[in-house]
Symmetry: C2
Subunit: 461 residues, 2 copies
Amino acid sequence: MKRCEIASLFAAPPAQGEVVTVAGWAKTVRDSKNIGFIELSDGSSFKNLQVVFEAARLDNFKEIAKCGVGTALLVTGRIVLTPGAKQPLELNGDSIAVEGVCPPEYPLQKKRHSVEFLRTLPHLRARTNTFNAAFRVRSEAAFALHDFFHKNGFVYVHTPLITGSDCEGAGEMFRVTTIDPEDPPRGADGKVDYSEDFFGRQTNLTVSGQLEAEGMALAFGKVYTFGPTFRAENSNTPRHAAEFWMIEPEMAFADLTDYMDNAEDMIKSVVRHLLASCPDEMAFFNQFYDKGLLERLTALADSEFARVSYTDAVKILQENNDKFEYKVEWGTDLQTEHERFLTEQVYRRPVFVTDYPKEIKSFYMRQNDDGKTVAAADMLVPGVGELCGGSQREERLDRLEARMDELGMNKDDYQWYLDLRRFGSAKHAGYGLGFERLIMYVTGIPNIRDVLPFPRTAGGF
Amino acid sequence: MKRCEIASLFAAPPAQGEVVTVAGWAKTVRDSKNIGFIELSDGSSFKNLQVVFEAARLDNFKEIAKCGVGTALLVTGRIVLTPGAKQPLELNGDSIAVEGVCPPEYPLQKKRHSVEFLRTLPHLRARTNTFNAAFRVRSEAAFALHDFFHKNGFVYVHTPLITGSDCEGAGEMFRVTTIDPEDPPRGADGKVDYSEDFFGRQTNLTVSGQLEAEGMALAFGKVYTFGPTFRAENSNTPRHAAEFWMIEPEMAFADLTDYMDNAEDMIKSVVRHLLASCPDEMAFFNQFYDKGLLERLTALADSEFARVSYTDAVKILQENNDKFEYKVEWGTDLQTEHERFLTEQVYRRPVFVTDYPKEIKSFYMRQNDDGKTVAAADMLVPGVGELCGGSQREERLDRLEARMDELGMNKDDYQWYLDLRRFGSAKHAGYGLGFERLIMYVTGIPNIRDVLPFPRTAGGF
């Protein structure tokens, strides 16, 4: 008999008495003499299916009653509709077979486990409620992002992971090599000879696909990346990972406002998708991780994001400097405490802060006419602070080269990037969204190690 | 005036005389005295928009007439419907502004460029027909895959790129390190001390996410990966890249037939999506890369894939050994010539070859009762040969350990993987699809360097 998934039983309950087969893992097994109850999960649904089993019907009643948590079972039985109960139906087992045993050494016995303990079991922890919910939300958020950009005519581009240069000085990089570390080839000067390395040069893992995405946007009009990104920074914090996923949209013939409009639509679209497609998971996070989560996300989906210039934001913050550990003055970067104050206390909704001082932003951001600021904007959201950042890109060759000279950058490394300004240059804008930061935001999970299936962070794995 | 995208003009033509603004790049500019024609591309559509411009209407007629190929332009004009013409409409310009000039040094002048030459310009080549079509098809294929798995209840999982071990001996790996290569820390034995490396151990770039995906499938039931994968193999061929993207679905409570059914549905679903969503691009490939492409893909979408055991396939091939460079006998791996013979000559449609000798397949594949073969299957398609490969996984702890011992593998490195067989083990199956191989197949492009936006191959980049 063809197996039914539990999610489909809940979505479209069969008729009373219909015979179905399900397969899954026992989350709990209880029994009293002649009747027993199994909470069965097959991973298709956050909710478990209750299986009732009776000594009168099963030859192997005792074997089943003794099953350990985690046992894989095949159950054929009759649907019993249970209107008014927590679940719309249960299954009365006519035959239950053990597919795979689960001995008492199984580390996920029925009790509360700390996330720290579960991090030591990355291959098993997705079987627990928190991680099952987190990774399903992660999957649905990824789909919502692809769907949003696809619907809006963006081309999905894969930018390279292995790169030849540190594109924007964005951070420490991992080296990628096949050179024998014990005895590397060396040149006449005694230094390691990278012409002998796999690609005939020194190579690293990318810190951003933005520059390549700009090139693709100037061909396709609108593109986005969604791929892994790396930082070899020794930041052992709840918010930093060495390997994480980024979304980097880039739009030609677009300015700062176009970026903000798109990013606002994008976040709302993802949040609406999650509220609609993962109600059980989101309710779980609201109950156990952040009591204000659903209210905050619902508000975000319905709000119009505020927009304020950095200069005006600094004025507002300076009036409240007594509340901050780090005092604000024009020219300093905003700290999370300032960002949260703006979005939570001042605007009480998401807010874009625009036109930051050029000294605290990247070389590729478009220089404003005031000579002091660039057309950059960060999106700040309640509960978190910065969720994504972007800018209009400097499309004027002379301005871009002048800024690179000011910063002492080696223009030879960027000739291809400058070509984009030489040949049919166009106004364009884009942004970057850290995917894990988004998942932390929409789940309330406070540690990046718990939204990545197999986290790679400073401190090892 | 808000900019219209060319794709939307073609999809839903405005009324005759309606005034619209478009922005894009000139692919050609022609003029004769008082009238000129621009083929304008904004990247939203494979088809260009014809812009007509007249000296009588434009003060800057001469400037526009002199525009180089690649110039970025902003055009406001009136829609002229052209029923019966190649395109449904053109635009009569009332005002044309140069957004970004494009000097004669622009390397993509109007002429035929070789793909070899264009590979030297990865930042620009997406502006040409071949690469514009290839990367749009790549994007649409990626979306079709996400959509297929999402609709079928698969959870998208991100398996790690940086790994601690060579999971299946699948190939040479890149090392990932932050150790100073000039003067690495060394232990008392004089060897490089990897406890000083970023993760406190030796780390590599992954060759496959399958083993981790198995763990996730035993929690979620059905999962798939879609991410980058690496091989540090010095294979300078048209089919090998050092960095490429893989799709690795994995299904619990599933056997070899379930994998084949899913993979067949998946390929058909992607092909149907491409035929429907990229008609212009597919027609281009059919015309310039492979005259039989559309016919072959249409046939694939409508066919029922054949299935034959390796043992039976070998019998068929042996009867034709005079046709092959490599003669076939039971126990040898099939070469592309054999695979193509089976799918093109014998079955004339896609075919799964099943149950290969265990010696030529991986340790994790489920051992058949004959003691000689494993429950593996490769999907062979006309024109290419193997498109994807998969197997039922060995879910029996004792069998898996015995096979690992036979192969001299270090079981200590795989304790987490063996845990999946200790704790609620279940029948499961999965497969791997090389994304670039799929794109080569659906476009007819013969070199993997031309379906990857920024290829990383042996020989450098």
